[in-house]
């Protein structure tokens, strides 16, 4: 029965939009799925101690490159998105390679990635003639409504299925990595880089691979978001707030568990919606405020997240954790 559970759940999820048509809940589900995918992408790196505070930058690139190519060059997102993915992959390599090659890890790496997302934001603002700057940007709508070529659909159900597919693919990739040699290599690296290198692990190459994978997946999330929402702005897809939100969601949901980021997404989206409904436009800023407080509280009291801590209660884990303190010497 337990083995059948995922399939039953999966079938239910796929069947959902055909049974239940209300657009608003479907919209929420689409957002949850897209953001879950983004958060899962982040956690691909984060779970190995490669904490990036700059993933907002990759999401921004995914969104903006796709939209810009469509609006200014008429390039279909079917081509635009791969190009955006390549762009973010290249950026990831350009920034991460020197960091890894020269052993910039931990704090230092996080700060560099933080600066990266800040810089991407600056570039978007600086090129305001093209990107609309802080006012935001809209991909041009195809007049007929839905067009496969433009990757625009009016039906929420269609988007739901697309998002579901991408989300499931993300989980699948997560599982692939989880069961691969790369995972063990990266875990070894996160414990002791020198030790790992001594056993023949190509430290820089492994770290670079997971970073590029994570960056590219995040960019895809950004592109999807753009195509779905049909409106992007620096604050909604890129920047430090988004980067931190990703970290928050994964930390709260559970960083070492495949569904952890999804749990985090459910929490963040629901929280944002509840606040928006209760406060209306006065809610601006309140959701981030709550995130901030919750993030601090979670880090202090529940560093493994909700799902992680719950699973811990079921079976004790001896694995390395975010809570591991450096040996307290006398």
């Amino acid at each position: 029965m337990r083995r059948a559970l995922p399939f039953i759940a999966g079938a239910a999820l796929v069947a959902l939009p055909f049974v239940y048509h209300a657009p608003y809940p479907l919209h929420i589900l689409v957002m949850i799925l897209i953001w879950s995918f983004a958060y899962t992408s982040w956690s691909m790196m984060g779970r190995f101690g490669l904490v990036s505070l700059g993933h907002g930058g990759f999401m921004g690139i995914g969104a903006y490159v796709t939209a810009l190519l469509w609006n200014h060059a008429g390039v279909s997102p079917w081509i635009g998105i791969p190009l955006a993915l390549v762009a973010s992959g290249v950026l990831a390599v350009v920034v991460a390679y020197p960091c890894f090659r020269f052993r910039i890890i931990g704090h230092y790496f996080a700060l560099v990635t933080l600066a990266l997302s800040g810089i991407v934001l600056q570039v978007i603002t600086a090129t305001r003639d093209w990107t609309g700057g802080s006012l935001g940007y809209t991909p041009e709508r195809y007049q007929g409504g839905s067009l496969l070529y433009a990757l625009q659909f009016t039906s929420k159900a269609t988007w739901y299925l697309i998002a579901l597919g991408v989300w499931a693919a993300g989980l699948y990739v997560w599982r692939l990595v989880d069961r691969s040699m790369m995972r063990y290599a990266l875990e070894a690296i996160s414990e002791d880089e020198d030790g790992a290198a001594a056993t023949g692990v190509h430290v820089t190459a492994e770290k670079l691979k997971i970073t590029v994978l994570s960056a590219v997946m995040t960019a895809l999330a950004g592109a999807l978001y753009c195509q779905y929402q049909m409106f992007i702005s620096p604050d909604t897809v890129s920047g430090i707030a988004i980067s931190l939100q990703m970290v928050f969601a994964v930390v709260v949901g559970g960083i070492y568990v495949s569904l952890g980021p999804t749990v985090g997404a459910v929490i963040t989206i629901m929280l944002a919606e509840v606040l928006r409904i209760s406060f209306g436009t006065r809610a601006v800023g309140w959701d981030n405020l709550v995130y901030g407080v919750l993030l601090v509280i979670f880090i202090i009291f529940l560093p493994k997240g909700i799902l992680g801590s719950l699973l811990d209660l079921k079976r004790p884990r001896a694995a390395a954790t975010l809570t591991r303190s450096p040996a307290r010497s006398a």
Partner: protein, 289 residues
């Protein structure tokens, strides 16, 4: 040709003036990292709050500038201590990344709190300081004042660190934390004092920056990332390294802004940073971390 040179010279000078404020900020961040071994990601947000403080005390309550400045410095110093007690101290034994994330949470919180409390409109001190015209160049008096004040602040910190016992303890704890109790040093007190000092430096920077820029909840994003890059390049915890890196970055930003939009200056600075990382990974002034 002379026309070209004047603008360049002006940009160079402005770069130095800006560098002074950056150096002040990197000093604060480096002190905290050196002593407590934590990076306050929300450092720029503390400055933002200080700037709002200045706005309210000076523009809304009409206190003299000096009073506002003192209040601001003291206020942010207190904020620094509160931050340490509430967020940092409980996490002193935790993995460094957790400490980073916790201060990230505070960043989130402070930006949003400012949005909720003050709104997103830009606020200005309304203080029009004269512009000096010297040798065909326009140097803003505000920038000169900022530079001078930053310099004074740094000299005071230098004297504090080198002449006083507490200052010696601060320098020592960064080099060997464990044996400090052998000399009768209460490490918790040193952490609090350092947090207050870091906050005070942020407060001082806020007084100076508010003369130059408008304040809004996200103003920290304009210089936060740069300060981090400066500190990483100079070597986290390395006071001298941060000092040098501050001026280098300020020049790049200033010169970058000469021909293009200001934002491009930041991009150049980041590119420069990446390049330097490749060329000199141990930082500008080598130091064991």
């Amino acid at each position: 040709m002379a026309f070209f040179d004047i603008y360049l010279l002006e940009a160079l000078i402005n770069g130095i003036l800006l560098g002074g404020v950056f150096a002040l900020l990197s000093l604060g961040l480096n002190l905290i990292f050196g002593v407590i071994d934590v990076v306050w990601i929300c450092y720029a947000e503390l400055i933002m709050l200080g700037m709002y403080g200045m706005y309210f005390v000076y523009s809304v309550y009409h206190a003299p500038f000096a009073v506002a400045a003192v209040t601001c410095i003291a206020g942010v110093a207190v904020l620094g201590v509160i931050l340490h007690v509430l967020v940092i101290a409980p996490l002193l034994g935790a993995a460094p990344i957790n400490q980073l994330l916790a201060t990230g949470g505070v960043l989130f919180f402070l930006q949003s709190a400012a949005t909720v409390m003050f709104g997103i409109e830009f606020k200005n001190l309304g203080l029009r300081l004269p512009v000096l015209k010297a040798a065909g160049m326009f140097i803003s008096y505000a920038r000169l004042l900022a530079f001078a004040a930053a310099l004074v602040g740094m000299v005071l910190v230098y004297l504090f660190l080198s002449r006083t016992y507490t200052g010696a303890a601060i320098r020592a704890i960064a080099q060997d934390r464990q044996i400090m109790t052998l000399m009768g040093v209460d490490t918790r007190r040193i952490y609090l004092i350092t947090s207050a000092l870091g906050g005070a430096l942020a407060g001082l920077a806020a007084c100076l920056l508010v003369l130059l820029y408008d304040v809004h909840p996200f103003v920290g994003l304009s210089f936060g990332p740069i300060i981090f890059l400066i500190c990483v390049l100079g070597g986290l915890g390395n006071l001298a390294g941060g000092f040098v890196a501050a001026f280098v970055f300020a020049e790049i930003i200033s010169l970058g802004g000469l021909y293009l939009d200001l934002e491009w200056g930041y991009v150049f600075a980041f590119v420069f940073f990446i390049v330097m990382m490749c060329l000199r990974p141990e930082g500008l002034l080598p130091r064991r971390s």
